[in-house]
Amino acid sequence: MALPLAAPALLLILLLFCLPFALLLEMSLHEQVAGSMLPSDALTLENYRAILCNPVYLRAILNTLQLAIGAASACLLLALPAARIIVRSKGAIRAMLILMTLLPTISGSLVQTLGLVNLMSPLGVINGSLRALGLIRVSIPLLGHYAGVLVGLVQSFLPLMILPLVETMGRIPPDVEDAAALLGATRGEVWRRVILPLARPGMIAGTTLVFFASLTAFVTPQLLGQGRVQTIGTVLYQQAVMVDNWPLASSFAVLLVMAIMAIRLAIAALQRTA
């Protein structure tokens, strides 16, 4: 009786997950016929060539990579001390801190983005405070610029870094640190030679999560970039939804999937040799 019970869930996955990706792959091999909504009948790799030779798309890919690397690094730096404090606290405080970490995830990316827009707009919190303090006269442009998108990505994906770090750092026995301190290690040395090496799996997991999430982000760059910061996500939306060029959007999506699978395999291989 096992298989029939598994059938409904598998049907959902096959029809609404596997089939769309198969359609994507098939559509990417057709060309959009000029002046028509329909793709051509003949199979071609023309879309892939068009993407890889178009400076606008290459620029978008490069932007996204830079943003993803920036977001992953910033999240790592901010999450390490945060995870450390969570691990070291107990009982109600610990539960409270974990819930505070989860709140942005539960409240959803749209609410976060609404808040971030008000935070960074010319009349918003950052510019308002700086003006009130007399530090600036003219508002700093954040919305519609890389800085704004980067702040948004870090804010949205920070929990993805904190949670795996809490998980691995929680498993480091406090005795290990005490022993290192007794043997004369300074605070910096304890971090460098004890905590960081033992937290490595969590650091890798968190960095991978934030990197991929930023690489494929859509809402944050679309709304905080205000159409002036092109990323993979915004280009996919334009091509698929706004100009209805499905073949091109599909090819772009397939390239993204292949790149992500390649990076995943590379990370797995590295971890096996390490």
């Binding site: 404090i85 959803g108 976060q112 009349l123 918003g124 939306y237």
Partner: protein, 270 residues
Amino acid sequence: MSGGGISRRTPGDRAMRVVVGLVFLFLLFPVLVVFLSAFSGTDAFHFPPRGWSLRWFEAAAHHAEYQRSLGISLVVAACSALLATVTGAMVAFALTRGSFAGRKLILALLMAPLMLPQIAWAVGLLELSVRANASGSVSMMICIHATIALPTVSRILLASFGQLDWSLWEAAQMLGAGLVRTVARVLVPLLAPGLFSSYFLAFVGSFNEVTISTFVASYRTMTFPVRVYVQMYSQGIDLTAIAISAAILLVVIVGGLIAERSLRWSRWFS
């Protein structure tokens, strides 16, 4: 610090506490700003705020478009969470009880949506919906949201099925309870925390889903986040939408805290 008598509180500790305080402030700031701006007395949000009012909540109460999309969101979230929880529980039961070939494959398929980017999935789903002539169908949206929730839901339910004491199941059957009765009176009550957490997370996930819904939604299936997204993209921030979001957020936070007190669901995350 908890490291016994060896490590003492140093200036370094205090500096770290300040840094972590700022990190959490940064993490929670957008939510605070949403609450602040919902009560704004001016047409646009200013900081520091210039006066407070409830006018945006009044505006929300009369905004037919937002109310319609909230209705769609609620229907889609309620139905998709139910679909995901029921199908997830069935497959988790099969995987826990049965040992059959293909078990690993089924597990891999269930978790597969976590491996590939949602933005690419969204393009594929858009093509599927239009080609299958289902782009205006609420049932299609429900099934899509259920599929998005399946990996999370199955993971939670596999964990709770794994902790189940199966001798209770066997005892109930031996004492003559039929299958339906055993499921309803033994299995469901024992699994209640896992089932509830699954439903809650699937519901909230569906209610918040933007990326895939934005690609797939048509006018008839426009959920609240998509409606707000479209509004924001074309005309900028609308404080009426912020007021509604603040109200929803309050419900989610209170619901989450109640769920945490009664079911301790933060354990599913650590």
